[in-house]
Amino acid sequence: MSGAAAAQAAHDREARRRARRSRRYRWDVRYSPYAFIAPFFLFFAAFGLFPLLYTGWASLHRVELSAPGDMQWAGLHNYVRLLDDDLFWNALRNTFTLGVLSTVPQLLMALGLAHLLHQRMRGASFFRVALLTPYATSVAAASLVFVLLFGRDYGMINWALGAAGIAPVDWQSGTWTSQLAVSSIVIWRWTGYNALIYLAAMQAIPKDLYESAALDGASAWRQFRHVTVPSLRPTLLFTVVVSTIGATQLFGEPLLFGGAAGQKGGAAHQFQTLGLYLYEQGWFNFHLGRASAVAWAMFLILLVIAAVAALVGRRLRADR
C-alpha cells in the first residue's frame, strides 16, 4: 500500500519534471531568439536612438556646457540663431564642397583601380593589402603627416612644386587649397577600401556577359562601359550613399589640419565643416542647445540624401 503510494508519488514527480522540462523547452524555443537579438536593440536604443531623439528635444532648450543638467525651454530660438549665423551657412557650403572634392575623385579612382585589380597579374594580393593600408591608418595619424607634407615652408609638396618650377602654395590659408588638402586626406584613406568593394562586386558579374559582349566584338573599354558599370550600379549607389553620409560627418581631418585652432576650420573658417561647427558651438562656445540644433540640421540633410538615394534606387530597379 505504502509502496504503491510511493511509486505513484514518484511517477507524479517524474511527470511534473517532464512537463516542466518540456515547458521550459517550449519557452526556450519561443523566446530565446528575442534574447539573442536583445543586446543589439537595447544598446542601440540606449546609445543610438535615444540620444538622436533627445538631441531634438535639447535643441529646443538653452543648455550650457557648464551645467548640462540645467535645461531652459527656448522654443525655436536655437534654430533661428542658426539660420541667422553666416558661419552656419559657411559650414554647410564647406561640407558640400569638401564632400564633392573628396567623394568624386575617390570613387572614380577606386573604380579604375578595381578594374585593374580585376585583371590577372602577379602580386594581386599584395596590391590589395597595400592599397588597403591607408584604411588602417587613423584619421589622426594620417592628418598629422599630411599637415607636414602640405606645410607652407618646408612641406614636401611645396618642395616638389618648387622643383617643377611652380611657386609654393600656402595650402592652409586659401579656401580651395585648404579644401583640396583636407580632401586629399579623405581620398588617401578611403580609395583602396572602395576599390576592394568594387572589386568584390566585379568578381560577382557572370562571365557569360563578357563572353557575349566579346562575341559581339566589343573592345575592352566598351565591355567596361556596357557590362561592368551597369552591373555595378547597385554597388555604385551603395558606395555613393555611404561616402556621402561620411562626407556630411567630416570632422577629424579638418580639425587636425587646422592645428591649434582646428575647431574653427582655419583662421577664416575656410574649411570649417558642419561637424566642426557643432563641436565649436558645443565645446568651445559652451552652447549645447545650439550644438543640438546643428546636429538636427545635419540629420535633416541626411534624410534628404536618403530620400534621393531611395528614389534613385527605385529608378535603377525599374530600369532593369
Binding site: F43, Y54, L144
Partner: protein
C-alpha cells in the same frame, strides 16, 4: 584550396576567349605600383620624420631617408605625450568593443539566420536601417549622460556606446545563412540541447572564421574611432586618437615627436595588417558582395 580555385578561374577565363582574359599589361601594373607607392609613402615618411631631429624638418629639401633620432623621439612621445597610457587604454577599449561586437553580433546573426520568430524580417530591416544613422548626431545627449554619471575620462564612456554594430549583425547573419546547416541546429535541438548549448556547441564553432574577421575589422575601427573619444576623454586618460589630437593641437611643438607619436599609434594596426592583411581584405570583400 586557393590554388584549386585559382586554377578553376583560370580555366574559365581560358575558355571565355576575351573580356576577363585581360591580363594586366605593363600600363596596368605601372598604375597599380604608382597607387601603391602613394598609399604607402605617407606612412613611410611618418617613420622618416620620426627618425629625424626636429630642426631637420624645418629645412628644404625635406628629408627622404631615415635619421638616427627614432628611439629618442619614440621615447619622448611615449612619456611626454602619454602614448604609453594611450596605447594601453586603446588596447583595452578596442579589445572590449571587438569582443562585445563579435559575441552580440553572432547571437543576433544566428537568430536572424536560423531561428523563427515574429517580426523577424521587419526587425532585420530595422537593423540595416540603423546603419544609416551616424552616431555623431547624438553626441550632445551622450555627453550630458556621461557628465551626469561622472564617466567623463573613464574608458566605459567610450566602450559602451560602441559595443554593438548593425554591420556586425548583418555580416554574421549572411555568413551563418550559408555556413551553418539548419539540420545541425535541429539535430542538437532533438537531443534536447537548450538554445545556449546550441549556440556554444554548434553556432560558435561554425561561425569562427567570420567571427575572427569581424573581430579584426571592429578592432581596427574601434582603434581609430575619433569623434566621440575626443569629446568623452581628455589628455589625462586618452586613447591613441585623443593623444594624437593633443599632439596636433600644439600640446608638444616638436614635429618629429608628433610623427613619432603618430607612428606609435599606427604601428599595432600595421603589424596586424602585415599578419592578417589577406583575411582583412577578404572580410571587407565578403561584406561588400552581400551588402
Amino acid at each position: 584550396m586557393r590554388a584549386s580555385r585559382r586554377a578553376e578561374a583560370g580555366g574559365r577565363r581560358g575558355r571565355s576567349g576575351a573580356g576577363r582574359t585581360l591580363r594586366g599589361g605593363p600600363v596596368a601594373l605601372a598604375v597599380l605600383v604608382l597607387f601603391t607607392v602613394g598609399s604607402l609613402f605617407p606612412l613611410v615618411w611618418t617613420a622618416v620624420a620620426a627618425s629625424r631631429d626636429n630642426s631637420r624638418l624645418a629645412q628644404t629639401p625635406p628629408p627622404f631617408w631615415f635619421g638616427s633620432h627614432l628611439l629618442k623621439n619614440l621615447g619622448t612621445a611615449w612619456s611626454d605625450a602619454n602614448m604609453g597610457l594611450a596605447l594601453a587604454n586603446t588596447t583595452v577599449v578596442a579589445g572590449t568593443i571587438a569582443l562585445g561586437t563579435v559575441v552580440f553580433s553572432t547571437l543576433a546573426g544566428f537568430a536572424f539566420a536560423k531561428l523563427r520568430f515574429r517580426l523577424k524580417n521587419l526587425l532585420m530591416l530595422l537593423v540595416i536601417g540603423t546603419m544609416m544613422i551616424p552616431p555623431q548626431l547624438g553626441v550632445v545627449p551622450l555627453f550630458m549622460t556621461i557628465a551626469r554619471l561622472e564617466w567623463t575620462n573613464h574608458l566605459q564612456a567610450v566602450v559602451l556606446p560602441t559595443l554593438v554594430s548593425a554591420f556586425g549583425v548583418f555580416f554574421m547573419r549572411q555568413y551563418l545563412l550559408q555556413a551553418l546547416p539548419t539540420e545541425l541546429v535541429e539535430a542538437a535541438r532533438m537531443d534536447g540541447a537548450s538554445s545556449l548549448r546550441v549556440v556554444w556547441h554548434v553556432v560558435f564553432p561554425a561561425a569562427r572564421p567570420a567571427m575572427a574577421v569581424l573581430g579584426m575589422l571592429t578592432f581596427v575601427q574601434a582603434w581609430n574611432d575619433f569623434f566621440w573619444p575626443i569629446i568623452a576623454l581628455t589628455q589625462e586618460n586618452p586613447t591613441v586618437q585623443v593623444a594624437l589630437t593633443g599632439l596636433g593641437r600644439g600640446y608638444i611643438p616638436d614635429q618629429s615627436v608628433i610623427m613619432a607619436g603618430a607612428l606609435l599609434g599606427t604601428l599595432p594596426l600595421l603589424l596586424a595588417f602585415l599578419l592578417f592583411g589577406r583575411q582583412i581584405v577578404g572580410g571587407i570583400m565578403q561584406g561588400a558582395v552581400k551588402g
